[in-house]
């Protein structure tokens, strides 16, 4: 799976897992903020997203403060998944 496919997959997971009915995965910008003002997600969503990504890609994302930059955007998440999968 190349970087663009990975980002597309993550966007699908976000819409499905976080029940963003009416949002098209393609409508989420790669670098848009996911939490707070962005998509309006909260820390409960972050936990759910971490779980879904772990289940789908077999990688364990960081928790707590270390998770903050990783969950900043779809791009950041994709980079972290690639890093963990190659490492």
């Amino acid at each position: 799976m190349d970087h663009d496919e990975l980002k597309r997959a993550i966007k699908h997971i976000i819409v499905e897992e976080l029940d963003l009915r009416g949002t098209e995965p393609t409508g989420i910008a790669d670098d848009a903020a996911l939490f707070g003002s962005g998509l309006g997600l909260d820390s409960l969503d972050a936990l759910q997203l971490a779980l879904a990504i772990e289940e789908r890609f077999g990688v364990r994302l960081p928790e707590g403060e270390a998770a903050r930059p990783v969950f900043a955007s779809v791009s950041a998440l994709a980079r972290e998944v690639e890093r963990l999968r190659s490492g």
Binding site: L18, L20, L44, D45, Q48, E54, E55, E63
Partner: protein
């Protein structure tokens, strides 16, 4: 018109906790600073982040009831604590009219999930029986049967404030003269669902929890049960009962903020503390101790400290605050009851228990701690506070037995019905599409049904929703989604328990979700009483209005389509000679209020345990509505000559019919086809009855 309000005495307590199977043992070890934590033995937690809990040591063969029925762990703890409270009060053989209210969240979940976890070849009948031990109303049924009770009864769930709300509701029955004695409390056994759920949320501490500590890192779960015997001052005096403490005030409300995150400002907690103190006529500087909710999560303890600071002002520095959860864990639906029982004993014995695990208090909390072991001091007045998922909270005020309190007056106006709404849909109808997406993410069908129907009952012109409450009934809760959550982590491992789904599985989630969506900040809770859950919800709502806890309440029930429940109920329906087609979905709610317009019908009578002789006479043009089995009750009453219509609602699950019956009885008055209507719902040996009436001035 007014009448005097009865003062509420506590004359007995019973507790089952990790520190002991009786109240004296629990309290003595609590005061000594002992902690009840150990490795979880009830189920496998080896793959989870946290492996610690405060388990009760229970002999599973020692059933506190006659007969061989298995019952659940929750039932067993509930009956034991209920019996102890009665014995403590010197009422080993209580009168049949004794009223009963129980709060809880898990009921028979441990046993029900065992059916899934063991993947065993259980005989289908046994599997069904164990899955049906899941309904939230089972512990209440078990206690009623064990003690032979026929008085008022209610099962309430408001997540982690459930036990406290059962106590408050019982107090309201006594204050307003509906009961002279009530056994009230809560019970919750540990189970895989709650353990995996809190673990998935990342709020469980790896080691024993440390409430209010700067280094606190989350909660530790516990289990248990507790009951208080409440009596009116008159009833206690008549039999010469010893008063342990007075329950002089309480307050219940909701934040309408977020399903799991408490409001950071503490504003709602402060409103409830202030309201409860005012009701008890206690000034902040007269308060000795707060038995805090104190879960030891970062967010709870911070928000709770802010609530106390806002409510108590300058008096905060003189007040002792501790949390029992560092010793008995967070006992969820039982917590409010266990901690209330402990507060009663602290007031009675002049001993303030410590906060175990607290070493370096978080700075800027501003209140006084008790560290190590209990501190002896006169406890004139103490609070017990409880907060739960959905932002719901309850505060109870207990004061010492020689505190004088002049009698207070209460209004005896009849409440009225301001609006009704019924919603029957086929299961395929995409309900959530009618809701705002951003505010209804992850809503299950029950949450959508409650939100849509409660909103319709409120009507478009309701204006501010501040202070409006909601009681939502459901017979079985969300069995499908609960089983889906359990299967996922049983099959894939506990790390795959869904954190976002878990808070929606507590039975009060639909009510909580609807309160957040609609901005309702009054009392928000769920109830369950099988096919009379809507009737139970209406009785609870009317009692809360009568007690002054809310000006307006929305009450009813919602029954979503649930494949597992339907499959389990099919043999029952067949045995009764009916073979229903696919069950639709149904919800019906009424908006009831302390006052209303001249065109709003009043509620002239309501009871969850009515006798035919209790009913006010029919008068004028009367109509009777009822469900199968109502005929005998009506014949024995003064309404025997009024036309009786037996109601059925095609396409609506039987469990939801009660709410639809309320709508029918009220609409007959609005339509002008009757001046008074009676609704009769028989339920397992007793009867719910409501009388609605057009105002005399109504042309």
């Amino acid at each position: 018109m007014t009448a005097s309000r009865q003062r509420v005495a506590v004359t007995g307590v019973g507790v089952v906790s990790a520190l002991g199977n009786t109240a004296p043992e629990t309290f003595a070890r609590l005061c000594a600073g002992e902690r009840g934590f150990g490795p979880v033995t009830l189920f496998d937690v080896t793959a989870q982040r946290c492996q610690l809990a405060a388990e009760v040591r229970l002999d599973p063969r020692a059933r506190p009831w006659a007969g061989t029925e298995p019952g659940s762990r929750t039932d067993q703890m509930a009956v034991a604590a209920a019996r102890e409270a009665l014995a403590h009060a010197g009422l080993d053989r209580p009168e049949r009219e004794l009223s009963l209210a129980i709060g809880g969240t898990t009921a028979g979940m441990l046993e029900a999930e065992g059916v899934l976890a063991e993947q065993s070849e259980l005989a289908p009948a046994l599997a069904a029986e164990r899955l049906l031990s899941y309904p939230l109303s089972t512990p209440l049924e078990r206690v009623r049967a064990a003690l032979g009770l026929e008085g008022h009864h209610a099962t309430v769930c408001s997540a982690c404030s459930s036990g406290a709300n059962a106590i408050g509701l019982g107090a309201s029955w006594i204050e307003n003269g509906r009961a002279s004695r009530a056994l009230v409390g809560g019970a919750d056994a540990l189970c895989r669902l709650t353990f995996a759920g809190f673990d998935a949320l990342g709020v469980m501490s790896p080691g024993p929890c440390r409430p209010f500590d700067a280094a606190r890192s989350g909660l530790t779960l516990g289990e248990g049960a507790a009951f208080l015997l409440l009596e009116s001052a008159d009833a206690a005096a008549q039999r010469g009962a010893r008063v342990l403490a007075w329950l002089d005030g309480w307050s219940v409300g909701a934040e309408a903020h977020h399903v799991t995150h408490p409001e950071a400002s503490g504003a709602t907690g402060a409103r409830l503390i202030t309201g409860a103190l005012a009701r008890a006529r206690v000034a902040p500087h007269e308060l000795t101790w707060v038995n805090a909710h104190g879960t030891a999560t970062l967010q709870n303890d911070a928000a709770e400290a802010r609530a106390l600071a806002l409510a108590l002002g300058e008096a905060l520095g003189q007040v002792f605050v501790s949390s029992c959860k560092g010793q008995i864990g967070h006992t969820l639906g039982a917590a409010g009851a266990i901690e209330a029982a402990i507060t009663v004993l602290a007031v009675e014995q002049g001993q303030v228990p410590p906060t175990a695990g607290l070493e370096a208090p978080e700075r800027e909390l501003g209140f006084r701690h008790v560290i190590g072991r209990a501190q002896a001091m006169p406890v004139r007045t103490a609070l017990s506070t409880s907060f739960g998922f959905g932002g719901v909270g309850t505060v109870l005020v207990f004061s010492e037995r020689d505190r004088p309190l002049p009698p207070t007056e209460r209004s005896v106006e009849r409440p009225c019905v301001r609006g009704v709404a019924a919603l029957a849909t086929p299961p395929a109808e995409p309900l959530v599409d009618r809701l705002d997406v951003a505010r209804s993410r992850r809503f299950d069908r029950a949450s959508a049904l409650v939100t849509l129907c409660a909103s319709a009952a409120l009507g478009a012109g309701a204006g501010s929703r501040e202070g409006i409450g909601l009681v939502a009934g459901s017979a079985f809760g969300n069995v499908d989604r609960t089983v889906e959550f359990l299967r996922r982590f049983l099959e894939r491992g506990p790390r795959f328990a869904s954190p976002a789904d878990f808070p929606h599985l507590v039975p009060s989630a639909p009510a909580g979700n609807a309160s957040i969506y609609l901005g309702l900040t009054g009392p928000v809770l769920a109830t369950a009483d099988l096919s009379t859950s809507a009737e139970s919800a209406l009785c609870i709502a009317l009692s809360l209005i009568e007690d002054g806890q809310a000006e307006q309440m929305i009450a009813g029930s919602a029954e979503p389509h649930d494949a597992i429940t339907e499959r389990l109920l099919a043999p029952l329906h067949r045995s009764q000679g009916s073979s229903p087609g696919p069950r639709g979905e149904g919800a019906a709610f009424a908006l009831v209020a302390r006052t209303g317009a001249a065109s709003d019908p009043t509620v002239a009578f309501w009871s969850d345990s009515a006798h035919p002789a209790d009913l006010p006479p029919p008068g004028g043009r009367a109509r009777v509505f009822g469900f199968g089995g109502a005929e005998a009750f009506v014949r024995a009453s003064s309404w025997r000559d009024a036309p009786l219509e037996l109601l059925t609602f095609d396409g609506v699950p039987r469990e939801a019919w009660g709410g639809f019956g309320v709508v029918r009885a009220v609409e007959a008055l609005w339509a002008g086809t009757a001046d008074r209507t009676l609704l009769v719902s028989p339920a397992r040996g007793q009867t719910y009855a409501f009388v609605f009436e057009r105002r005399a001035a109504d042309p």
